[in-house]
Symmetry: C2
Subunit: 284 residues, 2 copies
């Protein structure tokens, strides 16, 4: 069955899903995106993702193509047409088509909305046996990573460097040696003091939706937790490291730059949080 | 007459010039670009632009779609079809179409090459009467601005801020208060000591082709010159400020953040360099 995409009001075969070359998303990266995870037909952390989409849109002054309710209808219709119940929904919004000139075009063109869907296998019941490597790289991204923009070339280069090194993710650190986040995920660590930490939100990191949802699980588990940045050095001394995102849920990092993290197996805290995440998925 | 674009081997009407929504240029900004200026059918500083294109391509590991000679044929054919002798040629190269995943796709898809052309009026004979404002903004771009990538959202936001302030350009400065460059140009200043300065090249600025070409003119004029960074404070005390790019040649900035620069008119040094630039255009 051919995959179906949504392009500016129409459902079309992906092979025929096209935009004009003067779409500002293509020539300037002048757009934003969001990735939703659907589990058995239900969008997970839906309110968080819609809120972030709305925030990103506002930060760069894009026109809303439709309201949230209509957007939800499009997403579910696209899932239906693709026969996907459990999978990823990719949504992109750009400033639309205009004669090339950096400043926002006037009059405003219609913003361009495109969506694709693809299936994803059900998550495993538990993390036992899981292993994943990460590398560390200097964060070369721009100063507004809190906006989920499609300016992703530094992320592309970092993820490809990770892949070349046989790793799943690249953990980024700033000029002061402090960890910001992963190229496509939030990063968490458990220190020798058994305290769980993840960086507080600022303009250098994306406000992760799975990160936000997990904060409630952290509280429910009664874990010692600090929302505070940590250095690369502290990360190297971690008992546990894991990453979170809508596409990766909770994924332990068992090797960092070739060295084992803790006992090189999924840690206790990551496993407990993963179990909570899974329970939340299944409860509906 | 409808504008004609070049898209992956075909000459098509601009309105029908399209790329797939999974072109990595659209979803990741995973591509580079170049802008050529043609004067009466001749590409100006052609070798510099082709060399920079080749460098950008290599830095992010894109496959060359064709050799330089073939590319030159495409450019001239596109100019012919658009009946443009004097104008701008926009060329963009992306990593091509692949299922969305950050790391470079394997096997490599065919890289996507698109070009457009548009006419530009002949440059004025002299700068007298010219005035232009600039604003200053913190440089929020990524750490590899030496690559002419299509990750241009920070440039878009800066240029729009300039436009909203009634200014032509936004001059960017880094966390140390040193000027990097304009949002779409190189920045030059003449200090109270009458020394002309522009920042040395590093990974935070684009190696400007017009900048490079102008260095020969600077020498020929016997100007005192230092290739050295300057602070925002030094810029505010400048006798002259001007910007250069393939699309703006040599353009004096006569007001900075609302304050006059020098006597708020084109300066002597900018005028001399502009005259040299014009002579070079016309000599062929």
């Amino acid at each position: 069955m051919a995959r179906i995409a949504y392009v500016n009001g129409r459902y079309v075969k992906l092979a025929k899903a096209v935009v004009n070359i003067e779409d500002r998303g293509y020539q300037f990266g002048d757009g934003i995106y969001e990735v939703f995870y659907a589990y058995r037909g239900r969008l997970i952390d839906e309110a968080l993702h819609f809120a972030r989409l709305e925030r990103s849109r506002g930060e760069i002054g894009l026109t809303a193509p439709m309201g949230e309710a209509a957007l939800r209808v499009v997403i579910h219709e696209l899932m239906r047409r693709n026969r996907v119940q459990t999978g990823l929904i990719y949504l992109q919004l750009t400033r639309g088509v205009a004669k090339r000139d950096h400043a926002f075009p006037m009059p405003k063109p219609r913003s361009a909305l495109t969506l694709t869907v693809r299936p994803k296998p059900e998550p495993p019941e538990e993390l036992s046996g899981w292993s994943a490597a990460a590398i560390t790289l200097e964060d070369e991204r721009w100063g507004r990573c809190d906006i989920k923009s499609i300016n992703l070339l530094p992320n592309v280069l970092a993820r490809d460097a990770a892949k070349q090194a046989g790793a799943l993710e690249a953990v980024l650190f700033d000029a002061q040696g402090m960890v910001t986040e992963g190229a496509t995920s939030s990063v968490w660590m458990v220190g020798p003091d058994n305290v769980l930490r993840t960086r507080a939100l600022d303009q250098h990191v994306l406000p992760g939706c799975t990160r936000a949802a997990l904060l409630a699980d952290v509280a429910a588990e009664g874990l010692e937790f600090q929302e505070q940045a940590f250095s690369l050095e502290e990360l190297r001394a971690a008992r546990e490291i894991f990453i979170t995102s809508a596409t990766s849920f909770v994924k332990p990092i068992t090797r960092l730059d070739g060295m084992p993290v803790g006992n090189a197996a999924p840690g206790l805290i990551a496993s407990r949080l993963y179990a909570r995440y899974l329970a939340r998925l299944k409860e509906g």
